[in-house]
Symmetry: none
Subunit: 395 residues, 2 copies
């Protein structure tokens, strides 16, 4: 693949409408119900298809769903829970950072009496992390950071050389049991284990007067995985425009640029796209809220958000991209209130579309589309092909 | 995959209409010609597709066709001819059983003059096996069993420790040549080879006065393959309901339960299904006769049998399964009088179907269906997904 890639000036835009695919309610899916004149207009110049993010029957998380669209085998990339949680908080990670999920907990007479510290509030969590931050800044030459999350969950980053994720998790998995010690699983975990034991000791001292959160459990030790750089792999100078930290994090992991100042809504994302149009070859544009409506089981809100995207589309089309794909990392049917395994609508606009029939953009038209049903890992080769960035294979 | 499986109370039914797919005669396939109001009604709540049992152009035997539907790679499971023949006779096999295909033959002056003993009758075969049974019961501490089959074919089971299939077959493949000796191919076959030589010596003595079947050839030495247990692999307590021994045998090989007393026809199979509904998660229901009609080249009989199944369907639907798949292990077009490589109609009923258009259930509608054309090994992941028995992959 890499040997076939060539460079040119054709610009590619990959729009991910998170959670786009749906299931019918009263006979129509969210997409079928939505009035989308601009998307429908585009189908007449586009190839349509359905993509399978990971495999038949497999419901993908956002990570695997995105990696597949970016041309990586999602089964080969393993991202630890600590790293994922950190990306979700928008934290910067490098190869010398160990990310750990911390859960505030209540410790009494040698056992964990509440693994979630009685489900403390996010506000309380913030206060506790500030307190820990003030007292604990480094151990054995390694920088220690505390980042509060939602409820009882927070993230600890340890920054230094030769840190290892090969450590026993301390969560006993059930209330009423003693916590485990962060013992090394492999020899390479020895140094990290020592740091974590000191960390626990110091933290327990800091938290000793807390009624509920007087302890924390350590889980999901992980470092960023080694992933081939996207821009190099495909010779595409790439920019990721997303409002939510997790998606910027995923894009950063594969070496895409992200805008310096945060973009907070769809309009700002499109503004960012316009301003950076001249500086990049490949743009990943992520719209989150459609997925949230699906997760909430709010069929009508999902419909309106799809319509809202449709109304913004002409603004994007003005920019004159050579290739535009509109799809998603997974389906999120309002009916299921969760991600699902159902194939995802896929539209590919370019000057070289075989299809020229205008249809309603929806699951059914995509299923009958010129691209058929295919794996999401094939999306990137298609984007390269339609932008004339792939040489002939063989003579 | 195994890591994603969870357990719940949703019940899954996989109906295999053996040999279902067909080819058109006077413009219509068997399925297209059949009046199937109940199946057609079900399509409005089902996803349709065509499955490829093994690979493009490959005509599967019943073994590979079934293994693929049960989620096993049929290219990785090798079942010896001896084991297959034994399963077809309904024999019980365990890891200490060596199964061998025996062919009665005529031996004269050091050569095999007829490799099929002049095509003796099944009745004659029975008489000969009874005769052998009476005289030969064990050799070197290993139990010996003779089981008559069709025509000149029978099965020998040897039961004991350390038996091996690494033995030279004795069939010279052509009349007029001397039989081979059952010599060991590998060192581990030594003990088995000795037993077989004694067996041949004793049997020749028993059969010496027979005019035609005074000898037999040994082929297809095999033991049951090691296959991952289906119920454990998918956390599905599973029952196989089939009238024909081969299919019960295949299901037993992967650890499915089979009813204690035999079921002899479709009505009895459905009765069994009802009686066991509460006790299992997964039901494999096998209807054989459609395939036989196809093999006989009897287009009209195949049509009526499909119609008969359709008339029984409402009885099955009353049981309230969460997921029902209706498909086959291969096509058996009456036009070809044999199994064929043509993709197989597949229907998947559940509450989470994207499709909601009622169509005639047939090869053409399945080809245009929401699931597309896909490999039969994906059927089981889909059944798990639609029954909400698969966790999200990745976060």
């Amino acid at each position: 693949m890499k040997e076939l890639v060539i460079n040119n000036n054709n610009k590619i835009l990959l729009i991910i409408l998170d959670g786009l695919g749906g299931l019918p309610l009263d006979g129509k899916t969210e997409l079928e119900k939505a009035r989308t004149p601009n998307l429908d207009e585009l189908t007449g110049k586009s190839e349509l298809g359905l993509i399978i993010p990971v495999d038949y029957g497999i419901t993908p998380g956002s990570g695997p769903g995105h990696f597949a669209l970016f041309g990586y085998n999602p089964l080969e990339i393993e991202i630890g829970r600590g790293v994922l949680e950190a990306l979700g908080l928008g934290l910067k990670l490098d190869k010398n950072t160990l990310a750990i999920r911390g859960n505030f907990a209540t410790y009494k007479d040698g056992v964990i009496v509440s693994r979630r510290a009685g489900r403390i509030s996010t506000e309380e969590n913030k206060r506790l992390c500030e307190k820990l931050k003030r007292e604990i800044k480094s151990i054995k030459g390694c920088e220690i950071e505390f980042h509060s999350g939602v409820g009882h969950r927070f993230v600890i980053l340890i920054k230094g050389e030769n840190l290892s994720a090969e450590i026993k998790e301390t969560d006993p998995q059930k209330d009423g049991l003693p916590p485990y010690l962060p013992e090394p699983i492999l020899e390479e975990g020895k140094k990290t284990s020592e740091i974590l034991k000191i960390l626990l000791e110091k933290s327990t001292e800091v938290l000793k007067d807390e009624k509920e959160a007087n302890y924390f459990l350590l889980r999901g030790y992980s470092k960023v995985p080694k992933i081939e750089n996207f821009s190099e792999k495909y010779q595409l100078k790439s920019l990721a425009i997303a409002a939510y930290p997790m998606y910027k994090g995923i894009a950063s992991l594969i070496g895409m640029d992200v805008p310096k100042s945060p973009v907070n809504n769809w309009e700002e994302e499109i503004k960012e796209l316009k301003e950076n149009y001249d500086n990049y070859d490949f743009f990943y544009l992520h719209f989150k809220e459609i997925d949230i409506a699906g997760e909430d089981g709010d069929f009508e809100r999902k419909v309106s958000l799809i319509e809202k995207f449709d109304s913004l589309l002409p603004e994007i089309l003005k920019l004159n991209f050579s290739v535009i794909a509109i799809t998603s990392d997974h389906s999120t049917p309002a009916l299921l209130k969760s991600h699902s395994w159902h194939p995802v609508p896929f539209l590919l606009y370019s000057s070289f579309s075989r299809n020229n029939e205008k249809v309603k953009f929806c699951e059914k038209s995509c299923q009958k589309g010129s691209l058929g049903i295919f794996k999401a890992t094939k999306v990137l080769p298609l984007l390269l092909a339609y932008s004339l960035r792939l040489k002939k294979f063989g003579a």
